[in-house]
Symmetry: C2
Subunit: 431 residues, 2 copies
């Protein structure tokens, strides 16, 4: 870890920069795959799955038998853990149910707003070394609470053509039975256009590698919505001399093991703490199976000291971390001043991994500084609002002239006339 | 208007297609302008304003004197109308203030969610033939309620280098004093990077022509958020024999006058109504200053009859109209079945123009079928949510093993360890 002492504000923009690799130009590849999926449907999917993933499939859909078999295979302890996590995630997201509003803005002018589920949603669950059943929980639970009618899971098949049992168990637990064995660009293409086996959707959720990210961006050009822009995961810890360095080191390592492009930052008023955390890192790092990855991440990461807590707050908000741990003797001060962050973990006994898995909050969060303008995933991301209005005679008589005057000033006479013909009719009735 | 009788469901996808012009490939132009704005700041803006708009400016910011002069110039009747509209828009959007939630998902595991304003937002107000002060109301009022700290208006200057007085009056009324004389791609570039005169922002709102739309899409690649994808305006009317054909015709024309790419559709169980509406269209059309535009739109528009009201509802939801007028003897049935629409106007005395200007609802709405996955503009579009959690000893003792089990199953041992070191410390304390 680089140690940086009281950096001048002029250096902050540089310190807030993420070490993101430049996005490879892969639009032509995405275009090619999408075109093929559009025209050849399942055939194209099977071809690309063979070509890109090296897996020969006959059926793109997970069968009921496969799910039943998977449910048998998952250890009971893991099942119990997944059920507890699901219940907590359900409780937190169920509480987010938006209440519609209704306002009579003027006598006789009644306006209201309701929320509706997005009918068709796609959930992308990455494959690779770790089966991300936790991500499936984070997407499927709110999709079900929202009431999305068609929920389609896409996840890349393993080498033998199967899907990880824990993922299938979680899908089954969440009541989602449309599970497609497809990953990468072709999965996003299938969710965009629909194929014989894979239903098309209106919005695509979930993380993925750079191919999936590029494909999701491409899908937005074709009219689909996506959850949020993706980027490597990151953790900022604010800790002072009161914090246990062993915990801080463990938290930094839990983030650092994600991937070589992860980033961790420690902000502290205590230079002594930095030294103690470094000692702990040296002790804990070698014990991790993913030590090589974590080591590379730490080499690119920083511990930054500030004299004033106001500077810590300002730097934190300028950085806008995806995850923020606050472990100090002044937690209320820091928590009250969070403006830009994805998810915040407060106190010595609240590790980030609690939110990654099981406490109830969502782990799909804005990275790369996007917390300045994006929320983490909420129930409402699976819904949209619609406004309604009904105006009666009293209302139109009060408001009509206002509309006419404004429409005329914007040179939109048809807009004015839609009011005028009605006011005239009301006048004739009164006469 | 084309008349289509009881179309088969197989023909619906074709009937739901919008007559959108293919997006011109202008990414290289956008890239060029953005690069110049990034490197030359104000100088580049002034150069492009001269080149694209034919206007020579010395100062990109509207001065306090210009605003004061504009306030004098706006007729009192228009001021009164704008104030009434503002009050209604304020009332409806103020009622949308999101309440945070707090849930103790398990004993000792406290999770909560708060909302924060997006600190820096840009509001793009198109110029052209009509000064769109109504759009400024729709963007600035919720931005102020949300509490956005920096609100930046960009609007193209008129030929003489000035900005329409009604726009300046509205900005002043809404308490926004950062008004920049810049339009087109260069405006979006300035809001993206910031220049000497024009502050950069985190999210850009507002409609625009195809150049502005392309530039907003480009800005999303650079990390900015935008309100929603843009498209030509559209209106669907559901009316039956009980409706006044004069009103229906006036409503269709109010939409048709927007631009040649607008689209209007009438759905009805009554073929007699179609004939009466056509008569009314023939009578009203010639009286409009924008008759030529409206005539062209009507030529591309349809009146569709259905025998069953269920088919009307299904077709409406498949089309997902931006604006929907329901003017029937069964309004409650139709309103209750709206799944996909931007804004709905119910009853004989509720013209779309009420919502365009003054009733209180927002007129920034999803077009082109995007109502399937996007909301119209809400207060929350100017905010983002942040989740928090705090776990105490009881909580971690209950939940810790769940997190450990899940992390282990996902091969993330660092995640597990962040819990284990804490549980061990608690154990040592208890001992």
């Amino acid at each position: 870890m680089r140690v940086i002492r009281q950096p001048a504000r002029t250096t902050w923009p540089e310190l807030c920069k993420r070490a993101t690799a430049p996005m490879k130009e892969m639009e032509s590849l995405v275009q090619e795959v999408f075109d093929a999926v559009k025209h050849d449907g399942d055939k194209a999917i099977l071809r690309y799955t063979s070509q890109f993933d090296g897996v020969e499939l006959h059926d793109l859909r997970v069968s009921r038998e496969e799910v039943e078999k998977a449910v048998q295979q998952v250890p009971e302890a893991l099942k119990r853990a997944i059920i507890i996590a699901k219940n907590n995630i359900h409780a937190f997201h169920n509480a987010q149910k938006p209440k519609g509003i209704e306002v009579e803005t003027m006598a006789g002018v009644r306006c209201w707003q309701t929320y509706q589920a997005i009918e068709k949603v796609g959930l992308y669950i990455p494959g690779g070394t770790a089966p991300l059943f936790s991500t499936l929980l984070m997407l499927a639970v709110p999709a079900r609470i929202a009431g999305c009618k068609d929920i389609v899971i896409c996840t890349p098949p393993r080498e033998d053509g199967s899907v990880d049992p824990a993922v299938l168990y979680t899908a089954s637990l969440c009541g989602v039975d449309t599970i497609c064995k497809v990953g990468g660009i072709q999965a996003i293409g299938a969710l965009t256009y629909g194929t014989e086996s894979i239903p098309g959707v209106y919005k695509i959720f979930g993380p993925g590698n750079q191919y999936v990210t590029a494909a999701k961006n491409f899908a937005t050009k074709l009219g689909l919505a996506i959850d949020m822009p993706a980027g490597p995961s990151e953790l900022m810890v604010i800790a002072d001399a009161s914090a246990n360095p062993e915990f801080i080191a463990a938290d930094l390592l839990s983030q650092a093991e994600h991937g070589v492009d992860s980033q961790v930052i420690l902000l502290t008023p205590s230079e002594e703490l930095i030294e103690k955390v470094k000692e702990q890192l040296d002790m804990q790092l070698p014990q991790l199976p993913r030590a090589a990855i974590a080591d590379e991440v730490l080499a690119n990461s920083s511990a930054i000291s500030f004299r004033e807590r106001e500077d810590i707050v300002d730097f934190m908000n300028a950085y806008a971390p995806e995850h923020l741990i606050i472990n100090t003797s002044e937690n209320v001060y820091y928590a009250d001043n969070v403006r830009n962050a994805g998810s915040v973990f407060i106190g010595p006994l609240t590790p980030e991994s609690a939110g990654d898995y099981a406490s109830g909050t969502n782990h799909t969060l804005p990275t790369n500084g996007y917390a300045k303008q994006y929320s983490g995933l909420t129930l409402q991301a699976f819904m949209k609002s619609i406004t309604f209005q009904e105006i009666n005679a009293t209302g139109l008589q009060s408001l009509g002239n206002t509309i006419e005057t404004m429409a005329e000033a914007e040179n939109l006479w048809g807009h004015k006339n839609a009011v005028s013909v009605r006011l005239q009719t009301l006048k004739n009735k009164d006469a």
